[in-house]
Amino acid sequence: MSHPAQVSESSNKKINWDLFSKTALTIRRDIIKMLGIAGSGHPGGSLSCTDILTLLYFHFLRHDAKNPKWPDRDRLIFSKGHGCPALYAALARAGYFNADMLLTLRQLGSPLQGHPDMRRLPGIEASTGSLGQGLSVGIGCALAARFDKKDFKTYVIISDGELNEGQIWEAAAFAPHHKLSNLITILDYNKFQLSGATKDILNMEPVAEKWRVFGWETKEIDGHNHKEIFDAIEWAREAQNAPRIIIAHTIKGKGVSFMENNNHFHGVANTKEETARALKELGENETEIQRILGMIK
């Protein structure tokens, strides 16, 4: 778990890159297992933000899994709620709850709802799933920090399909006007939305330029390169007079060959056979694969 002291003294020398790689791989396996057993959900957009979530939960976030309501914690608002299997897996691996619970995703009574419900699961900072709302909620958290003179940061993860929503641009106009430098936005730019490629459905390009003319400072990175994610978040944390957005170019379905850039897997879960194939690709051991397959009807 990351702690304040580690974060503030972070330097590349101390960074455990191996931990990031291993954790991201574990989260990807978790996502495949959860969705395979649930039989429904969103694999593509979960796998595309896995590396970003890994760096946040296993290095940057000032948080305490044993005290999820700690008032001074950093906030992470996961606005693209449909990608929540990745968030749930990151929370479990960060110690918020037992990883066995991941396999209850989408079942009646499970705290792991189809889209995040902050009232049911510790560690969820906002109930999301209706696109376009998280950035406004993040602004509220950033303003609360300012009102209370607290130094916690607020991170908001949004998606590119979500940029279609008008509310995003209300929030985009508001944050620079109020110089919310304690607000860090990360765009999981995986180039697809439910019905197809974002450039075909509603082209939002030039994306970075749009944010810049709204008053944001921007940085474009490879959203799967841990070093680039690391450096970009460090950069975003040093904002002074304007909010910063990291435009992370990602691959939908990243890490599973037959899911990558295959928009079938936007909102359709992996079948039993696909689960087996994906877990093999992700290097899961045979015993565990058989255990998971045994749980799929």
């Binding site: 608002i77 999301t128 509220g140």
Partner: protein, 317 residues
């Protein structure tokens, strides 16, 4: 007849209540969407500029920001016209406030058609219905300045989302500084054995006037100010239903989904009696003076009298 003595508008009482709340509670934050002169939140903004933000004309963002502030322990009061905040911000209220059970206070002005000359796009005839269907919300419609100030101050202490509708026009005085109000506890303004007039907002005065007119016809009408629409004061409704056996429900709102619907639902489930509704029919209104609009759209004491006579006929069958 009872005297129609006009007091302050309920929105003015909101402004005063906010200034007091600002002093009493440092967690109170006030946000408005470029209508602070009209909603009266500017009264708070002048005294506590550091805790006031006019966010611009963006109702969706307004509600979302309030959700985030509340999640961090603040008590955000957010305001705009009833139609703009409730209708434009509704989906954000649904997910970010109701579903998330966030401690956000939504206080709107310009409720109903007493907005007057600005016309139908600025008037709100749907806000009760919208607020009613949001789980976890408490819904309050104060009838005069004293009710407004007291209930809004209570709303700040109430844990959970609250919707309060205030009005633009001056409201007839019904109470005084000493009147005690309690969220969820209706006020019986007049007792009577024949029919109960259940009203909210500006229609409470109309109901009192109607009761006087009915008295001249030998009909004893009880009058209840249902300032809290949700939760309804069930015990009082039940005892009135058993006593008079006939209700007229009056409100400055569409006939669909407002207090009339809620009271009808309550009596049909608990003690079926005939109910007549005085409300805006399935329509929008128009420009005009508030009193002209009340006349044209059937929201006067005269309409309540007619409804009472009609419900009494049903009762006798």
């Amino acid at each position: 007849m009872i005297e129609r003595k006009l007091g302050a508008a309920t929105r003015d009482a909101y402004g005063k209540a906010l200034v007091e709340l600002g002093k009493e509670n440092p967690d109170v934050i006030v946000l408005d969407a470029d209508l602070s002169k009209s909603t009266r939140t500017e009264m708070f903004g002048k005294v506590y500029p550091e805790r006031f933000i006019d966010i611009g004309i963006q109702e969706m963002n307004l509600v979302g920001i309030a959700s985030g502030l509340a999640s961090c322990g603040k008590i955000p009061f957010i305001s705009s016209f009833a139609c703009f905040l409730m209708n434009k911000g509704y989906e954000q209220l649904r997910v970010g406030v109701a579903f998330s059970e966030q401690n956000v206070k939504v206080v709107t002005s310009h409720g109903g058609i007493s907005v007057g000359e600005d016309g139908a796009s600025q008037q709100s005839v749907e806000d009760f219905a919208l607020a009613y269907t949001l789980p976890h919300f408490t819904v309050i419609v104060p009838s005069d300045e004293f009710a407004a100030k007291s209930l809004i101050k209570q709303a700040a202490l109430h844990k959970g989302p609250v919707y309060v509708r205030t009005g633009r026009s001056k409201a007839p005085i019904l109470y005084n500084e000493k009147t005690e109000f309690k969220i969820g506890k209706a006020i019986q303004l007049r007792d009577g054995k024949d029919v109960t007039l259940v009203a909210t907002g500006l229609l409470v005065f109309e109901a009192l006037e109607a009761a006087e007119l009915l008295k001249q016809k030998g009909i004893e009408a009880a009058v209840v100010d249902m300032h809290t629409l949700k939760p309804l004061d069930g015990p009082l409704l039940l005892s009135e239903a058993k006593k008079t056996g006939a209700f007229v429900v009056a409100e400055e709102h569409s006939i669909w989904g407002g207090l009339g619907s809620a009271v009808s639902q309550f009596v049909s489930q608990n003690h079926p009696i005939p109910v007549e509704l005085v409300a805006i029919q399935d329509t929008y209104a128009e420009s005009g003076k508030p009193e002209e609009l009340f006349e044209k759209y059937g929201l006067t004491s005269k309409n309540i009298v007619q409804a009472a006579e009609k419900v009494l006929l049903k009762k006798s069958k």
